[in-house]
Amino acid sequence: MGKLERIAKKIGKVRKASEANLSGRGRNKNHSSPYESQHSIASQLKEDLLNEYSGKDFLSETEFERISTDYGETLHLREAVDKSLVTPDSSRPEILSDLKLVYGIGSVREKELKEKGYDTVEELVDHEKWGEKAETVQDLFRGELAGAYDLLRRWKSLSHPSFLRLSGLFEKKQFAIVDIETLGLSNQPVFLLGLAHTGNSGMVVHQFLAEDLDQELATLINFSEHLDERELILTYNGKNFDIPYIERRLAYYGQRKKFPHPHLDLYLFTRKVLGHRTRDCKLGTIEQSVLGVERDLDVPSSMVPDFYSAYREEKNPGPLLPILAHNRQDLLSLADLYRELIEEALHGNK
């Protein structure tokens, strides 16, 4: 038994080694100091929280509720927030003024058609040659907008302003802002999934939390059910990270679910529209330089796994609290960033 213990500990040491690498990424000594100071402030925060919340119970410290699902128990928090989601006041004709949405029409034909007075796809429905195809496009924009999204995807890059315009056609209530917290970047468990949407007044923030890793599947399922009620996903880098990550974790448990929702990844727009104004496109940087949000006592993303591990190992809710706050702030910042991007991309250039 002693031997197996020893070897298991050796495997666990990989974590320590990789963490040491992160903080000591240090041949270029000049660059490491901001990271290191952030790291040590966060470590201090963790220690303080562990002291402060020693012996306390998570559920009595927060508004989370324990709920039962077919897949076991999980935690859920629903919080109303006095904040509104601003969406573009797009109109169908405005988007459909792009005749190139019709298969076969390029810039040259579009110009010719516009000169003949066909200003929108809707007007083109009566055209002898293009009418039938134009009607298909028109129907997509009148029906469920997922079809319109797919059509746009065929022709436009995901950072094209058309997607921002299209999002304006969705009802506000259909938006789901999503952000997750995980133990790693590849195939480690996800333990917190945040989802914000517009409520009857203001916004509602949901947080789906795995109390421990044995609740991961129940948490994923509970989150998925809430996400399925919405029609449009809004994330920051979720196209590459959050959504595939969630799908991978579901598949890990044999739940082969894909989220078909149209997806607005604000990271892509930010890079294009605001990138020149900031030193990088991390959400934290954008918050400071564009949105004017200052977070106090934040846990840096790279230390989120460490905080959650500390919570699990010490059975102490302290280190979990800043992660929840971090996730909540990410969701709310996305609402602000969305508004900012609409200003910049759709109105700024006019």
């Binding site: 298991a8 133990l183 590849s186 480690q188 991961e216």
Partner: protein, 739 residues
């Protein structure tokens, strides 16, 4: 000229002094042919290529068609590849969804075999998009390969990291009908055990996607092919081992360079090679090190006008391919290579093979010898025995070589050092569910992982709970991952691992690459870069190191007779303190080196020699340190017989302890963390010491010789050594051990 006349003409050379110890004639063998059923299109493919199936190939095809898992162990150039490609392509022709995964031990082999597969694909008019998928595959091409390629070639190192992304391989894995694993004799020891665990991880993923592919394995000849296959894959296999292909007559020469002491073994090797090349024999010479591959080709080039090249790991792929092609077309007349050319790279048959130094295993020897033989022609193999007991033993006892059983390939699936890391990986790939084979076989290991929060037990199975990547906790082999880039004029010349760089890329070292000599101008350890300049000099350098060893933890202890034998963890450091400039065998100069020691932790077995014995030794006027050192060398020289390893896999250390507390001899694994050889030595030490005693005692030499206590890899230049002291100590230990 005929082979036998060329061999005779060796005796007329002024450097010939009776080196031929033995000449073995291997007779011709007639081919036998067979029939098998398969698609008409494959039949006409074989006809177009003028291929008749040998009976071992047809039997393999029949067994594969029956759905059996098959292991083929016929020698190099007997048509193994065709035996499994025929049934695979037969399936591909008739099932448009079917997929096959080919696993090779090296990247170079995957590339080589891809060409063969592409030829067959093109000839059959199929569109399978066969592709290599490994660390060199550009990221943007990977999704397309996973989706469209019906044949993918890869290696275990890559698979180890790809498996956790199995969702991306769903289409491929769901339709997988065949897994081909070539050269499985290289999957032995620790590396092989890691691959066996990897196979088990693959199998549970295949199962997850509802596929159950057939396994087809191939191997060089080993003693235990069925057992090895079963342990590697966890299934029962059918064996094809009878080679029914044609084999021409072969002359196998044993060459003892010691009879001409004025010429080193390496020097004589290059003369032999030049002699053969000059007599129009296309010759492949296998050497034991990268440096020797370079030196021998260089020295040989000085003795012939024919194109002669070196071939070794570290070359860029395009350099390697050019040499392979040159060998196939016959343009290149001689190549001196490391064992990088031992595996199935397609270079055609050669007229002559020189095995310069016993490669450590019978299996390797025959693999290398198998490169000789072209069509109906006679061929020649020369084993140049080195100045070490193993080589000398074979030269003096040829029957021991020719009649000796091939080595057993040993796998250890019960070694938690190996299995537990893979269990963590498996839990990352899919939860390890109650009732799964893995869970039942390794319940103790999984419990330990749960207790230490590497995985967490959940209602859905054991789930990986780390914040790191489990695959990072497992290394399939012990190749040092720290690499040093050799830069010439701002361009990458080659790469080598750190230990090699200490020997070959320290400041002012001569570095040989493709027959050119470079001098290392600057060795930046921190950045892992060595800058070299091209400069033809007539010397080469050799770094000299001293080792130190510190016991960090004693894990086990036993008494054998009166002698205490221990096993535990040690820290070994290698300090490269100076280097020599040499011309051929002559030392021109010695310079100091300033390098921090290379340190690693490993496992070790050691025993104590009582003070009373050593005091007696000294009273007789003999050297106690020399005696201990001699025993250490002799044990190491014999260890390859006991654990399937190379002499270079283990290290030794001996010391006369201060304060008259006797002496100690240490045998350790020359790999970080240990690989189980020292553990084996601990178990077998009595037996091993008895054989060591016989070896040293029975040797005819006076004060020690290369055949008993001289080591070709000694960091201390075989100094001090005292044979008489060694015999005395071994004899006295024998009384205590009762051997």
């Amino acid at each position: 000229m005929e082979i036998s006349r060329i061999v005779e003409s060796l005796k007329d050379q002024d450097w010939y002094e009776g080196q031929i110890e033995h000449l073995e004639l291997l007779p011709e063998r007639k081919a036998e042919y067979g029939q098998a059923n398969f698609d008409e299109r494959i039949k006409s493919f074989l006809e177009r290529k003028g291929l008749d199936l040998f009976s071992h190939q047809s039997r393999a095809i029949k067994l594969i068609n029956e759905g059996r898992d098959v292991i083929i162990t016929t020698p190099t150039a007997s048509g193994k590849t065709l035996a499994f490609n025929v049934p695979v392509f037969d399936r591909m022709l008739n099932d448009s969804d079917s997929r096959a995964l080919y696993i090779y031990p090296t990247k170079a082999l995957s590339q080589d075999q891809l060409e063969t597969i592409k030829d067959m694909e093109a000839d059959l008019g199929l569109d399978l998009e066969p592709r290599v998928y490994d660390g060199d595959t550009p990221r943007d091409q990977r999704p397309g390969i996973r989706k469209r390629s019906r044949i993918i070639l890869t290696n275990p190192y890559g698979l180890h990291h790809y498996l956790e992304w199995h969702h991306k391989w769903k289409d491929f894995f769901s339709n997988l009908d065949f897994v081909i694993m070539d050269e499985i004799h290289s999957y032995r020891g620790v590396f092989g055990s890691n691959v066996a665990m990897l196979v088990r991880r693959m199998e549970r993923i295949f199962d997850h996607y509802g596929s159950d592919p057939q396994f087809i394995l191939s191997s060089a000849t080993i003693a235990n092919p069925l057992e090895h296959s079963r342990k590697l894959v966890g299934r029962e296999f059918s064996l094809i081992s009878e080679d029914s292909s044609f084999r021409g007559r072969k002359k196998f020469l044993f060459w003892n360079p010691l009879t001409n002491p004025d010429n080193s073994a390496h020097n004589q090797t290059s003369k032999l090679m030049a002699h053969f090349v000059n007599h129009d024999l296309q010759t492949l010479c296998f050497t034991l090190s990268r440096r020797l591959a370079e030196l021998i080709s260089e020295w040989c080039s000085g003795r012939t006008d024919a194109p002669v090249r070196a071939y070794r790991a570290g070359y860029r792929p395009e350099e390697r391919r050019e040499i392979e092609e040159g060998l196939r077309t016959g343009e290149i007349r001689g190549v001196s290579a490391t064992n990088a050319l031992e595996l199935g790279v397609d270079i055609g048959g050669l007229d002559a093979v020189i095995i310069s130094g016993y490669p450590g295993t019978i299996t390797s020897s025959w693999q290398q010898a198998g490169r000789a033989g072209r069509g109906r022609e006679d061929s020649l193999v020369v084993l140049v025995g080195f100045e070490n007991p193993l080589d000398q033993f074979f030269l003096k006892h040829p029957r021991e070589f020719f009649d000796r059983e091939h080595e057993h390939a040993i796998l250890d699936l019960d070694n938690p050092n190996i299995t537990m890391g893979h269990l963590a990986c498996a839990a990352t790939e899919l939860p390890i569910r109650e009732g799964e084979d893995l869970r039942q076989t390794y319940s103790g290991e999984i419990d330990a992982l749960i207790d230490n929060d590497v995985v967490q037990d959940t209602p859905n199975g054991a789930v990986f709970s780390g914040t790191y990547r489990a695959s990072g906790a497992v290394k399939l082999d012990n190749i040092n991952e720290t690499t040093v880039k050799i830069i010439h004029n701002g361009k990458l010349l080659e790469t080598m691992d750190l230990a090699q760089a200490y020997r070959e890329a320290h400041e002012n070292a001569t570095l040989l690459h493709q027959g050119k000599t470079y001098i290392v101008k600057d060795f930046d350890l921190e950045e892992g870069v060595a800058e070299v300049r091209w400069k033809e000099v007539d010397y080469f350098t050799q770094a000299i190191s001293e080792s130190d060893l510190e016991i960090t933890r004693q894990l086990e202890k036993k008494k054998a007779g009166d002698v205490v034998v221990s096993f535990g963890e040690v820290s070994v450091s290698e300090h490269y303190s100076h280097y020599k400039e040499k011309k051929y065998d002559r030392v021109l100069d010695v310079h100091p080196l300033e390098l921090p020691p290379l340190e690693f932790d490993t496992e070790c077995s050691w025993f104590h020699v009582p003070e009373s014995i050593l005091t007696n030794v000294e009273e007789k006027g003999l050297g106690a340190r020399g005696g201990l050192h001699a025993i250490e060398h002799a044990i190491i020289s014999l260890t390859p017989f006991y654990a399937m390893c190379d002499r270079w896999d283990i290290g030794g250390f001996s010391a006369r302890n201060p304060l008259e507390e006797g002496g100690s001899i240490f045998i350790y694994d020359a790999y970080e963390g240990g690989i189980g050889i020292a553990d084996e030595v601990y178990e077998l030490l009595e037996n091993l010491l008895e054989r060591t005693y016989e070896l040293v005692m029975d040797c005819d030499c006076e004060e020690g010789c290369p055949s008993c206590i001289y080591s070709p890899k000694c960091g201390n230049d075989n100094d001090p050594l005292d044979k008489e002291a060694a015999v005395y100590i071994l004899e006295k230990l024998g009384e205590r051990f009762v051997y």
